[in-house]
Symmetry: D2
Subunit: 455 residues, 4 copies
Amino acid sequence: MLFERIESEGLAHYSYIIGEGTEAVVIDPRRDCGIYVDKAKRAGARIALILETHRNEDYVVGSVELASRTGAEIWHTEPELEYGYGRLARDGQVWKFGRLSLQAIHTPGHTPGSMSYLLKTPQGDPWILFSGDTLFAGDVGRVDLPGLDRMEEMAGLLHESLFERIIPLGDDVIVCPAHGAGSVCGSVIQDRPWTTIGIERRLNPKIQHRNREDFIRDVARELERPPYFRMMEKLNLEGPPVLGSLPVPDPVQAGDFAERAGSGLTLDVRSDLAFGAAHVPGSLFIWRSGLPSYAGWFLSYAKPVFLITPGGPPEVVPDLVRLGFDNVAGYLAGGMLAWHMAGKESRAVSMLTVQELCRQLDAKMDRWILDVRSEEELDSDGRIPDAHHIHITLLPGRLGEIPKDCTVYIFCGSGLRSMTAASLLARAGWKDIAVVLGGLAGWTSRTCPLKVTGS
Amino acid sequence: MLFERIESEGLAHYSYIIGEGTEAVVIDPRRDCGIYVDKAKRAGARIALILETHRNEDYVVGSVELASRTGAEIWHTEPELEYGYGRLARDGQVWKFGRLSLQAIHTPGHTPGSMSYLLKTPQGDPWILFSGDTLFAGDVGRVDLPGLDRMEEMAGLLHESLFERIIPLGDDVIVCPAHGAGSVCGSVIQDRPWTTIGIERRLNPKIQHRNREDFIRDVARELERPPYFRMMEKLNLEGPPVLGSLPVPDPVQAGDFAERAGSGLTLDVRSDLAFGAAHVPGSLFIWRSGLPSYAGWFLSYAKPVFLITPGGPPEVVPDLVRLGFDNVAGYLAGGMLAWHMAGKESRAVSMLTVQELCRQLDAKMDRWILDVRSEEELDSDGRIPDAHHIHITLLPGRLGEIPKDCTVYIFCGSGLRSMTAASLLARAGWKDIAVVLGGLAGWTSRTCPLKVTGS
Amino acid sequence: MLFERIESEGLAHYSYIIGEGTEAVVIDPRRDCGIYVDKAKRAGARIALILETHRNEDYVVGSVELASRTGAEIWHTEPELEYGYGRLARDGQVWKFGRLSLQAIHTPGHTPGSMSYLLKTPQGDPWILFSGDTLFAGDVGRVDLPGLDRMEEMAGLLHESLFERIIPLGDDVIVCPAHGAGSVCGSVIQDRPWTTIGIERRLNPKIQHRNREDFIRDVARELERPPYFRMMEKLNLEGPPVLGSLPVPDPVQAGDFAERAGSGLTLDVRSDLAFGAAHVPGSLFIWRSGLPSYAGWFLSYAKPVFLITPGGPPEVVPDLVRLGFDNVAGYLAGGMLAWHMAGKESRAVSMLTVQELCRQLDAKMDRWILDVRSEEELDSDGRIPDAHHIHITLLPGRLGEIPKDCTVYIFCGSGLRSMTAASLLARAGWKDIAVVLGGLAGWTSRTCPLKVTGS
Amino acid sequence: MLFERIESEGLAHYSYIIGEGTEAVVIDPRRDCGIYVDKAKRAGARIALILETHRNEDYVVGSVELASRTGAEIWHTEPELEYGYGRLARDGQVWKFGRLSLQAIHTPGHTPGSMSYLLKTPQGDPWILFSGDTLFAGDVGRVDLPGLDRMEEMAGLLHESLFERIIPLGDDVIVCPAHGAGSVCGSVIQDRPWTTIGIERRLNPKIQHRNREDFIRDVARELERPPYFRMMEKLNLEGPPVLGSLPVPDPVQAGDFAERAGSGLTLDVRSDLAFGAAHVPGSLFIWRSGLPSYAGWFLSYAKPVFLITPGGPPEVVPDLVRLGFDNVAGYLAGGMLAWHMAGKESRAVSMLTVQELCRQLDAKMDRWILDVRSEEELDSDGRIPDAHHIHITLLPGRLGEIPKDCTVYIFCGSGLRSMTAASLLARAGWKDIAVVLGGLAGWTSRTCPLKVTGS
């Protein structure tokens, strides 16, 4: 039997390939889909079916790409929508492959059409539930995406899905969700790579409330919705363009870079420290593993992307393509070393350790502390007195609140998002900014005049 | 500097990628072209140029495929032809990339437009000659392909190309041809992976004749022309279909195989011994490494190919695609083990060792020895008295010469082509056939009544 | 979190690497242990602990090898034995790594010291049970290895281990055993790669009996014990030699093979059909994927092994080393093609399809059918009337029962073991033997005079 | 035929594996020698011979390691020395393998015993010369290593080796040296990956002088001799310890790092910019690709090495092991991000672009410019007026020349060595140091008051 989970790191997206005999099924494939083709081939199976658990919002699903290479049938889930590809799966529908079968279980809540798929043993017993974005390890799906007006309705549906459709399958059924820890689809997903319905019943805080009203009150909350979700929804409805192979960005010589990249956006994916030390003026910083979470907030589909890498060819093309950024046009050949050797000017961001910050805060009066962490982090890890809080994702729209005439000290949890924030401020003309290295984690390891409250 | 030779085994096709700075050139790419993209990427270069040395006849050139992925410019060579892609390179044309340059040197003979490309050092000195099918290690290009009526003309042109254009470049210039030992493009190409003009002047028997007439007499010979050459010429003129990724043949269950494969051709790529022991009735045998040489003789572009492999998924898809056989539709899942476990009937071919043959020849009168080696092999390795000689490639057209009423003993050099011949005979209804294991090599290691003459 | 199952195919042996933060644990490592080092390295962890679930009998455990590369602590389990390495784990012992912990649960039955290890969540809840050879998917550990006199005692202990120590952990706990389907350690292990205590409670036939007496009656059975188990027990007690890297067998030219291999055993790992067609006289046949199951029955630790492969270098060295066969000295360079081209004599085995067998059985009187399947297969799949049954593993000791003066038709499930049996008979001088291709599976797909009873 | 060059990047060390039939030869293997074993295995050959071209000084030769895995015979070259392994090759000695042969040609000069090995074609013609450190592309071997007193003698020997033994082999012979561009063994080796005797005769400036006296005057020069050469000479004479597999450094948590690394040396192999932005106090910086050239100058064999990497596990272990630094004990887990999140203090180095330098030089009086380039670079690329020149390799011994009471601006060619120099100064207590990004290359791209003279 073929059974593998394919994880797309950063997105923390889980897809699955399951096969028996000469047939295989893929659930929620990603767009760079060669891995499924290879695994099926090695197992001596052909990919006959592609099942989507719901219309995804956070990445471009690879159904159309994979079907173009394998001829597989695609099944999607939202009866309210008009898809440009595939067919509509129905509650209770069964697909057999080899001695196994998968059964669709309608589990609305995250979206109106959300399906879970129950894999049954050859004897027909419940075995593994592919729960999509309905049930995660330690979390449940968000219910605000179909619209704020439908949020309570969706939360109610989710309650039924969980308590009347999933939990009755039995404690011993293994749960395979569409996301793991680190996904934007659930802020508190646990790092529990394998779980069961019973383990979730014991440990998942969201399904401790059997009471419908309490549950709805708990989960019917508006969460952040990155601007790229709209593009994902569009592509996942119409079917995205078939790539064939990944785009190959051009190496661009330092001397030509400003001109080539002028029409696009320069994205620096080196380390935060290297960016802080020197970067191409006007470039946006997102550290590599943060790309799946933050590219969708700060990049635009309208402009080509030019990359600054540690020197070699970019390795982030798959990450960008999974979010629909197919237009990765080039990268700075030779990296910043070549840039400086060509006599090009670069910019720096002030960085300081928490020790240095202690010293400066004692001495300095005209300072402004910007904390770019999320509300959830403020609640759980504590607030910095006198700090001004603007979540990193809201920064582009709230720049007006930040002064230009004094030093802006930027804080986040570790220093990474602070550097992204610094790059946003620098692009908008701020000059006197300083990133606190180690962020709140570093800070709370020290005793200093700047206290943290409420942690 | 990036400099790599990419060998397509079996075809013994050599292509080259050369890069300096951020630009790379590919000479005579193959169709499964991901390898060039990867090597260029790792070197931090983009593939800017694709140069063809001539219009190829023995494989599908990957220029169009590679250009579709990289945007490279394609340059081809035959002014007499109307290409469906690219631009025409001219004698003396120079392409610069980084500090290096390549210069086209018109070296007709193999084809009217054949180009060699001379790589020069940064100082402008001759360094490496990409000699296409004009000059090989130990051989020169065949001149019969443009037509028998033009053969002497082409041989004369080849003489000028070699003696007036290539040899004057200097003994110390490195020669990088388009084929190595084992290619159908030159029967006596030596296994000399790196060579120079001087080494060829010393060792290549074809260029010992400085006399034009002798040279023409020596090289103006008609050689075999596999039927697939016509398709290669067509595809390499029009530009073959862009694949994007390799075709993925379906695993086909033993129970469904006869029906699925009925419309196509069943090709067995297992070992000769396994085929001899048991095979699907009606299947054609070509051993794996013989595929690039013999598929073009015995397969048809009109029918889908179904494969019998050692059991797992087929690994020969790239070999077939390089010859334009894109329609590899399926393979027998589980191989012959599954076939027999499903109770399906198979056929066998008699095989015998040279020892056993000695015993049988002594005893048996009604026998007929079929030798499927080439004329060149007969000349160099000796003839078997009483044997009937039909080269394997001519067998389909000369079956009428072979008796059905006595045992046909089949000989080749090693036993491999004999098994291919046996599969051709079995498909055409012969029953009493026997393959001599080890072939002439085995035979000549023994003393036996069957003498070999003339070796 | 790092959590991976490493499967050694053929053996169907499962080992596990689990890591959190900078520390990782490996449970029951195999001897070719680079894979754990690589996975730990990639995860940024060091392998700090190696836990054995019991003293293994069916493969050489890689604890000592892995510890020599990583400095990890080894914990073993049998207080009755004097180990040459490591320390003794105690019931209830806890190892912490990162936020996780593993707790030893003494679960005797398969061996007196057998340990299961319970992985707990950061919150301290039961999560995953590494159940060693105590509980499998669909089976439980055999209890006959500590001695037939202790068999009932061990079965009783196993009952307590299962019903008083494992099942009470809860239905929702995930079970990760040391073997999957195909292992010699449990004949009815199911192809259920992920399971839970609850799923086993529902589906595992062995733990349906809550009644102690019934359970003991069911599981206290003597099973086959391959002769190599003794060597495994010895090596796994003393600690096997450290390899550093895998042995590299020499390619041996056909002309030298007989002499070099004369002192050893020639093992042919090609396909059954190729072996049947032609093999080096005196060689033993075991198909590649059957090697982990049958090498231990028919190979000797006293003699070097020489391999016949499909032609290239052998890929079975890891399989042999896992069983302690470190002395793989050489292989026939160029395979049987080179053998025959050197004029060497080979032997064949008659093979026939079930169709041909029907015809022969009708016609022929002096025949003897040898069925080499196991008793379990006879019971489940049916018996062949008039067949003589000797399980393949018992064949070397019962050759005297087999006639030499008539055709011996050999049957197994598929034809593979029949060819191994044929090689054993041929080595012992039998000449008139015939393997039935497709075996019983092929036979029962057909209607023929030879009926199968009792299936 | 098997013919491959294995390049160890950074060292620019070329080793070769050549095989025919079932035997292969390796010339000057490196210590991480799995690559030869794999290539020989894939080619169906065993490594029967290991040939050293001379006793190496710049890396640990892998002869003993490779012989321990393959049983190959080792041949070394220096009759004056007492080796702890292998046998002494003699001038004219011939080794046959398959149809090919290698002949030793004594070519002293770089060392007294230096051998070149001439590969001959099956016909016995000169084909490829493995020229060791005697002849490179564009350079010849240095002659100062046997001792300054023997330098002229060695230069004379080298002249004879080149003009009487190598050049007479013929222009068309291919030259395969032991090093390519970038090696410390020849400062002007050209990036000409394939060359011939004739090409060198045309282009190699060192062999333009046929006159013996001129040649000696030209090449008898003392070059730098890194302190690690002594250890290489010792290990390559006695035979280095057999590794079996590469060392696996431990991940060390930020909280434990200072204590663990206290006894050793902390080596930072991140980018120059990241090091400049923030580094562990007291750490030495060498950029990754500079490691093979500079580790031998600044590391010690007496102390364990602890690494600071971009975050993941170190990839530089092979580079260090090739230089005999087997004691790579650990690395900072999670990199500098983890360091700062643990609230640890870090240090920074001032960096400035050439533009900023222009501005500062105008304004600032108390400055001191340190140029760490080599004499050769000063000669070829020009000198900076007012700069103080100390080659990077001499810096540890000449720190006393550098002031501590004014800003020290550090220049090299690109900025990389400047950062290494800065790390050396910072470790020795300097505080006011500034690295010029882009170095001289950047500077000469701009017009600025600081002129470069003599370029």
